[in-house]
């Protein structure tokens, strides 16, 4: 039939199209990821222009120290948000993992088994989230606000006001805490940051090149259709939460070793930073859209910006303004254009005088 190729009107006007598909993704890359890349260059130029110390190995090292453990949590968060869910408990899990290490150390354990238990705690906590979200089907935002409080609360119960190791106590093994002061041999990079880069590669391949990744995208765009295509939506979500729990616990260990001490409130409030990074990286909060390279670029931009601002001695709280503004711009700029089009369309069809023949709407039936 000749009319078959007619594009559905409603879709022809869909704003800025999807960023999936090769050509679609290519166009997406040209838009969002390219924008991020340009921004990264600008930030580096800005940093270099404000301080001669910026383009040094130590900047790169401290960038990794500052943002590596946050960035590690951003990776599983990206996958979770791709499926249309969210996990707000990551920072609490970071604190709980650190507190576990601290408590066990306090009770005379040695470091490696303590870290093993911390990872196990991450697994259990993630499984709890996963069970409630994927199997029971509860809204993830509510569940993970609950586990945010729960995990932090358990950490609080475990350590209370204790800081481990206390003054005069047995200190953490220097070999391990050295990750907070010396880079990976042969590079200027911090250990946490290298771990992030390796995991980013793994997640990127997973998300963009494997059946599992494609399933995540399908789940985020249309969960029911994914289920009907035989994708085990609940199971995949469950394991994503488990992975998020374990990696957050891992981030907690790295953080603990870097600062070589721990208190229950480590990383409080970081969950929103993690979410901000992912969204700034171009991942849609509704799921199904976004790329991992985008998230990596977001990490690099926010990390370098933080370094640049710190070197200018800008209050860390003020740096929040920058994070917030960037996040806001990242969503307002695309939809601002769309809104402008809408307004223009409306002004072309001004609201004319209302019909005088209007029915009285409340006359009894």
């Amino acid at each position: 039939m000749s009319s078959e190729t007619v594009v559905r009107p409603s879709d022809a006007t869909a704003p800025d199209g999807s960023r999936s598909g090769r050509s679609g993704r290519l166009r997406g890359l040209l838009r969002w990821e390219t924008g991020l890349l340009v921004l990264l260059v600008l930030v580096v130029v800005f940093g270099a222009s404000t301080s001669s110390d910026f383009l040094t190995r130590s900047t790169l090292f401290y960038l990794g120290i500052n943002i590596g453990y946050v960035a590690i949590m951003a990776l599983p968060m990206t996958l979770v948000i791709m499926t249309g869910e969210i996990d707000l408990s990551v920072a609490s899990m970071l604190g709980l993992s650190g507190s576990t290490v601290g408590l066990l150390w306090h009770h005379g354990w040695s470091m490696w088994p303590a870290m093993g238990v911390a990872l196990l705690v991450g697994l259990v906590g993630g499984a709890l989230n996963g069970l409630l979200v994927a199997k029971v089907g509860l809204p993830s935002i509510a569940v993970t606000i609950g586990s945010l409080a729960l995990f932090r609360g358990i950490a609080e119960i475990m350590l209370g006001s204790l800081v481990v190791p206390g003054l005069g106590d047995r200190q953490f093994p220097a070999g391990l805490t050295s990750i907070g002061v010396s880079p990976v041999v042969g590079t200027p990079l911090a250990w946490g940051f290298v771990v992030f880069l390796v995991l980013a590669l793994v997640c990127g391949v997973l998300l963009h090149m494997t059946p599992l990744g494609r399933s995540l995208v399908a789940m985020g765009l249309q969960p029911e259709a994914a289920q009907f295509a035989g994708i085990r939506v609940a199971l995949i979500k469950f394991w994503l939460y488990v992975a998020t729990g374990v990696l957050s616990a891992f981030a907690g260990i790295i953080y603990t070793l870097q600062v070589s001490s721990v208190s229950y409130n480590a990383g409080t409030g970081l969950e929103l930073n993690v979410v901000a990074i992912v969204l700034f990286g171009g991942v849609s909060i509704f799921g199904g859209r976004g790329t991992l390279p985008g998230v990596v670029l977001a990490v690099l931009i926010l990390g370098s910006l933080q370094m640049a601002l710190t070197q200018r001695q800008v209050d860390p709280n003020v740096q929040n303004v920058v994070t917030g503004v960037l996040l806001l711009l990242s969503v307002v700029v695309p939809s601002g254009g769309e809104a402008l089009r809408r307004l223009r369309a409306r002004s072309r069809h001004p609201r004319k005088n209302r019909p005088s023949t209007a029915q009285p709407t409340s006359s009894p039936a």
Partner: protein, 505 residues
């Protein structure tokens, strides 16, 4: 039709509307008179929905006018259209599950008492009155959550009635209704007409048009083909005007001899939905699952495929028992399910065409765990060719396709897995006449090639035309089992209504 004299209640005058480069409606004019039921016909994509949306105040015409009682209107939004006396009943009921039935009826114009307080009692009273007029017993105070689709549609109709609309637009209101409910709807339409209102009726079921409408307007490719009184036209005329050519044969049906049993379902039950369903499908036959909407047909299909868990019974595919609630196992064993709701269940609308085709075969398209994009595209191209898919770009989103072509993508997705059993739920719902015939031809070829097909359909002609055997479900029980020779409209309808059990229990 005596009441059609005088000025029209509503006129669509030379209306044109484009979306980007696509002209959805071009220079269409027709009139609605008080007291008439007027059918607006056309294939999907002919521009009917665009007309409806312009009447509803959702879209504005680029040029031309919507004229109500002689006064040209500019609707800034749905509220304006409503205030002008135009009321729309959409194909899909869109209620507010959290609000009460009464609030659903009056939403957007909730009645107020002094001090701008809500008049709840008045709202309930008037809802009760309207339901009495419709002859249904719905509790206005219950929340809308949990209402059946038919009841939801009734609430929508009650909403339109409560407005005392002069013009009532019904966009495929019968798609989800049973015959009894359709009859009642027609009575309501007749009552409204007698009261002087005009009804614009959109339906793919031509027999309904002939039963209830006085005039028809036919559109094709966004243009007006003709407006005529109902006694001037025949079904064939209408189809020819809609499609632009004659349809050779509506239901191609090759005689085949059924072979071995592919699907064997015994005692399948799901608490509160269906009980003790037995069914068998052989290679080389189409078994139709007929019955009223809500009889549990779709639910049976979901349980067989494993989307929902069954509470009792066994499902065997080629003799192998399938585990409960595991679609992946069913797929691996050779089962495929083309679901009822294409846009939500069949496709990922924002994914490209090729990725949609590949979605059920990702592991087969991968090497060392990585999807091979070239193989993916090749697979999709292959199936696009075999199913004669009309598309723009293989890597464009599937949402840009017409309904019929979207259905072909769903079919391609499953046929790519070379299944032994294809379950297909409402194969041609919301598909235009031309593509409908194509889908029927594809099904016929598949069966001729030895596939077993379990087809759920609410369209009796489709059931009678395509099926080798017909199972009828009523209230979750099998109430009829007919061979192709035995099956006729009357026996199926009786079984569907639970009146006489000709075949199995």
């Amino acid at each position: 039709m005596g009441s059609e004299s005088g000025a029209p209640l509503l006129e669509v005058r030379e209306v044109t509307k484009s979306f980007g480069a696509v002209a959805a409606v071009q220079g269409v004019s027709f009139e609605l008179y008080g007291g008439e039921a007027h059918a607006l016909l056309g294939e999907n994509g002919a521009g009917k929905s665009t007309i409806v949306k312009m009447l509803a105040g959702v879209h504005r015409p680029d040029s031309g006018d919507v004229v109500v009682e002689g006064a040209p209107q500019t609707f800034a939004g749905p509220a304006d259209a409503r205030d002008a006396g135009i009321s729309i009943i959409y194909q899909e009921p869109s209620l507010f599950p959290d609000l009460s039935v009464a609030e659903n009826i009056f939403v957007g114009r909730l009645p107020l008492l002094a001090g701008r307080r809500l008049d709840r009692a008045g709202m309930v009273r008037r809802s009760t009155e309207i339901f009495a007029r419709l002859g249904v017993a719905l509790d206005p105070t219950r929340p809308a959550r949990g209402l059946s689709v038919a009841d939801q549609q009734l609430v929508e109709i009650a909403k339109a009635l409560s407005l005392n609309a002069k013009v009532l637009v019904m966009d495929e209101p019968t798609a989800a209704l049973t015959n009894v409910e359709v009859d009642r709807l027609f009575e309501v339409i007749a009552t409204l007409r007698r009261g002087g209102a005009a009804v614009l009726f959109i339906s793919h079921r031509l027999e309904e048009v002939f039963a209830s409408c006085q005039r028809v307007t036919i559109m094709r490719d966004g243009r007006l083909v003709r407006t005529a009184t109902i006694d001037e036209v025949t079904v064939e005329d209408i189809i020819r005007s809609m499609v632009g050519r004659d349809l050779e044969q509506l239901f191609p049906k090759t005689e085949t001899t059924p072979r071995e049993v592919v699907l064997d379902v015994q005692g399948l039950s799901s608490e509160g939905v269906f009980v003790d369903v037995d069914l068998q499908v052989r290679a080389g036959e189409i078994v139709a699952l007929a019955g009223l909407v809500g009889a549990g047909r779709t639910e049976v299909a979901r349980a067989v495929f494993g989307i929902d868990r069954r509470t009792a019974g066994t499902v065997r595919l080629l003799g192998k028992e399938l585990p409960n609630g595991r679609p992946r196992k069913a797929m691996a064993a050779g089962m495929a399910l083309v679901p009822e709701d294409r846009r939500q269940q069949g496709l990922v609308m924002d994914m490209p065409i090729d990725q949609n085709v590949a979605l059920a075969s990702l592991n087969e398209l991968s090497r060392v765990g990585l999807i091979l994009r070239s193989r993916e595209t090749r697979l999709a191209t292959e199936w696009a060719r075999r199913l004669q898919l009309k598309f723009g770009r293989m890597r464009g989103p599937v949402s840009t396709l017409s309904g019929g072509n979207q259905q072909k993508v769903v079919l391609g997705k499953w046929l790519a897995r070379a299944p032994r059993l294809l379950i297909i739920d409402e194969p041609t719902r919301g598909i235009d006449v031309g593509t409908k015939a194509e889908v029927h031809r594809i099904l016929d070829e598949l069966v001729a090639g030895g596939m077993a097909v379990l087809m759920i359909s609410s369209e009796l002609p489709e059931v009678l035309g395509m099926a080798d055997r017909v199972l009828v479900l009523c209230e979750g029980r099998v109430t009829g089992d007919f061979t192709r020779a035995e099956a006729d409209e009357d026996s199926i309808m009786r079984a569907a209504a639970g009146l006489s059990a000709t075949g199995a229990a």
